[in-house]
């Protein structure tokens, strides 16, 4: 099979400058060609829930805009100049130098440049993220590695209850801000103190506090695991890996019990929270049940197309809680081969011994071909990116956008995570069905 990709759903390693932007007052300094930021931001930002520049994104990002001159004679002089002036011009707390293909292929020694600034007391880290090194999810891990290795210092005391959350990849996962808020709320509800590294409540202090945490919590099939392992190595912080994004009562309650047990929280506190939240969830669901069950418009079968984080989380909810049946599930984030077996195994753990077939491919053209081959007996539900809108029309399927790029929806604080998120997801799915003919 050819390695080429169509209808792209993630970008290259350099796209991780968005992870830097997700930390409040952190400033990326990009050493790359002139168009990289603009292009990467299109898939991760403007065409993905219409996430824009924010504080220092887009055209505000310091960048060397490497030209033929830098490619031929080396780009470190220009980089040094841009970094030095960035410290004068840009108002930030942490500066992260990221490279693109031009620098990595010609071999600019950016470490040497950055270390000199660090020696003079500047809060700067550097990371090589040339586009050919892999996806922006890999880039995200490289950025976290760089921060852990070059910026974090051991802290004198561990703060009981403080937990670092490693889950959604900022900007790539369109609902990341809302998801972090919801996950944080869930953790706070059982008495933990989430350390907010990304999103509206993030801060450089939270980043510095990472080594203070009682434990690291990875809520993702694989992305973020490396950071947790790295932190365990460097600061001996234990970690819990919960592979499923908790959506809906079944998964969210299991999630809370697992985390509670790991953190040593009294089971009765956790159970009280679960009972309250489940009661609330079923209050709403009971009212919706007339329509969901009586009209018989709810699709019976569904496919998801997206990052494993979402395909797994959503398929668990639709199967375990809403009574739908999973068709093929397409995992499109270019999952590293070493994680694929573990990720696929998670798709075999549904209620009623239901098992879903998984397809790993970041080639949207291939995904489209496979979707067209599905044998469909009724109108299916396709939860994917806005790329799937075309094939969904052809297949007479219902389509809801849940994965990058989402160009057809404005996404602000919305999240499908937890009990409340599952209600929103139910609302959105059923609204797609109703809007189709009303």
């Amino acid at each position: 099979m050819s390695q080429c990709v169509e209808q792209i759903r993630h970008v290259c390693a350099l796209g991780a400058f968005e992870s830097v932007l997700a930390i409040k007052r952190a400033v990326p300094i990009v050493h790359s060609g002139p168009g990289c930021v603009s292009k990467l931001m299109t898939t991760l930002g403007t065409q993905n829930g219409h996430q824009g520049s924010g504080y220092v994104g887009g055209h505000a990002i310091p960048c060397t805009n490497a030209s033929e001159n830098e490619v031929v004679f080396g780009g470190t002089d220009q980089l040094r100049k841009v970094i030095a002036n960035t410290f004068n011009v840009m108002d930030g707390d942490l500066f992260v130098v990221l490279t693109g293909c031009t620098s990595d292929i010609i071999g600019d020694d950016i470490g040497e440049v950055a270390r000199k600034f660090k020696k003079s007391g500047k809060p700067i880290v550097y990371v090589e993220t040339g586009g050919f090194k892999g996806s922006n999810l890999i880039g995200h891990e490289l950025v976290l590695d760089a921060i852990i290795e070059q910026y974090l210092e051991p802290q004198p005391q561990i703060e009981p209850g403080l937990v670092n959350l490693w889950s959604v990849v900022p900007y790539q996962n369109t609902f990341w801000t809302g998801d972090i808020e919801q996950l944080s709320k869930l953790l706070a509800a059982i008495g933990l103190k989430p350390n907010t590294i990304f999103g509206p409540d993030s801060s450089i202090e939270a980043v510095r506090d990472i080594p203070k945490a009682q434990f690291n919590l990875v809520v993702s099939p694989w992305a973020g695991l490396r950071a947790a392992e790295h932190l365990q190595e460097r600061f001996c912080t234990p970690f819990l890996h919960y592979p499923v994004l908790p959506i809906g009562p079944t998964e969210t309650s299991t999630f809370l019990r697992t985390v509670g047990d790991f953190a040593g929280i009294d089971r009765s506190i956790v159970e009280k929270v679960i009972q309250r939240e489940e009661n609330r969830y079923y209050y709403y669901l009971e009212r919706a049940a007339d329509s969901l069950l009586e009209t018989r418009l709810l699709p019976r079968r569904f496919s998801t197309v997206g990052d494993s984080l979402y395909t797994l989380g959503i398929s668990r909810f639709l199967t375990n809680d809403l009574g739908l049946i999973p068709e093929k599930q397409f995992i499109t984030e270019d999952t590293p081969p070493k994680h694929q077996a573990n990720v696929a195994a998670e798709f075999t753990k549904y209620t009623n011994e239901i098992v879903a077939e998984t397809v790993f491919s970041n080639d949207g053209g291939y995904v489209e071909e496979e979707l067209r081959k599905l044998k469909l007996r009724s109108r299916p539900l396709i939860l994917g990116s806005s790329w799937e809108r075309a094939v969904a029309r052809d297949l007479n399927a219902y389509q809801l956008s849940i994965s990058a790029p989402i160009a057809n929806q404005l996404v602000l604080s919305k999240s499908y995570v937890g009990y409340d998120g599952a209600l929103h997801l139910t609302e959105d799915i059923y609204s797609v069905v109703l809007n189709d003919f009303m």
Binding site: C4, V5, T46, T102, I105
Partner: protein, 496 residues
């Protein structure tokens, strides 16, 4: 340096048109220096992310309805494709197309392995995949920084696949680092069309006029106006088919909605096939539209029809136009757009009676491919008022610093990603995303009303500006906006 259609690569604008991305001065000085040939680019000691020519090249070509694009680079080089797809959806939408489809762009997904061992094989595989998936009439292959630096022999690789597939498989050289002028990407796209797609004319069609534009929202308006002159517009390149493009050589003339966009194709068609290219002001605002249509009339021998049409229009809009001018009189405005749009919109805003206090252009071409300076720049330079202007590839620190000091009543921008920053400063902002905004007489009135609306309720921008902090230090706001512009810098350095 003229257009050279014997080469496989278009010559970049820095060399061909003496284009620059760094300058600060006035419109008269800019025109003088352009004419005397002493205009130099100024580098910067601090810079922020801009755009590259690959985006323009593949974005533009991807809207040809029966072609496919293969982008040869790491997956991030196709990061703009989601954007191309959105505008393609829009283009299908405004054409009322029922079965909307996605753009057809395949990326070779270049990995470390290809960077080390060469990417020609994955390129050929991707071309075959694109052919199997889309059965296109032509495949355009856009290059990247990575494919350029590692030295893939793209031309040879494509010759082999072209022979195998039996359709044109055309390289479009647009490595991101090769030009600082993203509009060089349009030239790269047009170069591919001129050298490999457009055919020798079978017949001449005296009624047909090629109209180079983007998404052609103004199709009906143009068709109606051209109808008065007995002419038929043929819009492109977006939503053209390969077979339509093959016949572009048969038209009576070529005209463009944008001087920065259309020059290479227009002059190339004139040079190679004798189709005259109409060099005029852009049809934005009354004076611009008059000039655009008159020059077209002169080119195709329809002067009388043009004058009759213009006279009727003038009478129709006189009352409303006077009212708009009364409301806009003396309002201070800053413009930030590509060079042709910037210098044309400055004229039209001044014609509204507004006071253009600064003009940014995202680059500047000291001359156009017909040989002379851009007509919109010369037109402004001949006026009494000398307008302060600068050239920057969307350098945000310069723009924000200047806007904060100048505090205009209005900012009018084009190109995504910049207008938001004026809004963050609390300045009423208009973004011209549609190239037919302010087109002709009716469009000029509509645009005037749009400005009035923007000035009437600025609550969003005002509230936003009071609640957010800009990412700049106090030190920076105390400096002059063009502190980092290094004047009299070295000439453009090149290898090859």
């Amino acid at each position: 340096m003229p257009i050279n259609l014997n080469r496989s690569q278009a010559i970049i604008r820095e060399k061909r048109l003496k284009s620059i991305v760094g300058y600060q001065g006035t419109i008269k000085d800019l025109a003088d220096k352009s004419r005397s040939g002493c205009l130099k680019n100024a580098g910067r000691g601090f810079s922020q992310a801009t755009n590259c020519n690959s985006g323009c090249a593949q974005g533009y070509l991807s809207s040809i309805v029966d072609a496919a694009i293969v982008n040869h680079g790491p997956v991030g080089c196709a990061g703009d494709v989601a954007g191309s797809n959105s505008v393609y959806q829009w283009g299908q939408h405004i054409r009322g197309q029922e079965h909307k489809r996605n753009v057809r762009i395949v990326n070779t997904n270049m990995s470390e392995n290809a960077v080390v061992f060469g990417g020609e094989k994955i390129l050929q595989d991707a071309v075959r995949t694109a052919y199997e998936r889309f059965h296109p009439k032509a495949i355009f292959v856009t290059t990247s920084c990575a494919s350029g630096i590692i030295g893939d022999d793209v031309e040879r690789a494509l010759k082999d696949t072209e022979a195998e597939l039996g359709i044109p498989v055309v390289p479009v050289f647009c490595d991101g680092f090769r030009s600082q002028i993203w509009a060089s990407g349009f030239d790269a796209a047009f170069h591919a069309l001129l050298t490999r797609i457009v055919q020798t004319p079978q017949e001449k069609r005296p009624e047909l006029v090629n109209v180079i534009n983007f998404y052609a929202s103004g199709r009906d308006a143009v068709a109606e106006i051209f109808g008065h002159l007995g002419l038929v517009p043929q819009f492109g390149i977006p939503f053209s088919s390969i077979s339509q493009l093959e016949h572009w050589s048969e038209a009576a003339a070529t005209i463009s909605i944008c001087g920065t966009l259309g020059g290479y194709m227009g002059n190339g068609l004139e040079q190679k096939f004798g189709v005259p290219y109409v060099t005029a002001l852009q049809p934005h605002g009354i004076a611009g539209f008059d000039d655009w249509l008159r020059k077209l009339g002169e080119t195709v021998g329809k002067q009388q029809e043009v004058e009759a049409y213009l006279a009727a229009q003038k009478e129709l809009v006189a009352g409303e136009l006077a009212e708009i001018k009364r409301k806009l009189q003396g309002k201070r405005v800053v413009v930030g757009m590509g060079p042709s749009f910037a210098h044309n919109y400055i004229r039209l805003l001044e014609d509204f009676g507004m006071d253009v206090v600064w003009g940014f252009s995202w680059h500047y071409d000291a001359k156009h491919d017909h040989g002379g300076c851009p007509s919109c720049t010369l037109d402004l330079a001949e006026k009494e008022k000398d307008i302060p202007v600068s050239v920057s590839d969307q350098q945000n620190h310069e723009i924000i610093n200047l806007l904060r000091k100048v505090q205009p009543d209005l900012y009018v921008g084009r190109h995504p990603g910049q207008s938001v920053w004026a809004t963050k400063l609390g300045i009423p902002t208009i973004m011209i995303s549609d190239e037919y905004s302010a087109f002709g007489y009716q469009g000029t009135l509509d645009f005037g009303e749009r400005i009035i609306d923007a000035l009437t309720n600025n609550s969003l921008a005002k509230n936003l500006s009071q609640r957010i902090k800009l990412p700049y230090t106090d030190w920076w706001f105390e400096q002059e906006p063009f502190t980092f512009l290094e004047s009299e810098s070295d000439e453009y350095v090149t290898v090859r």
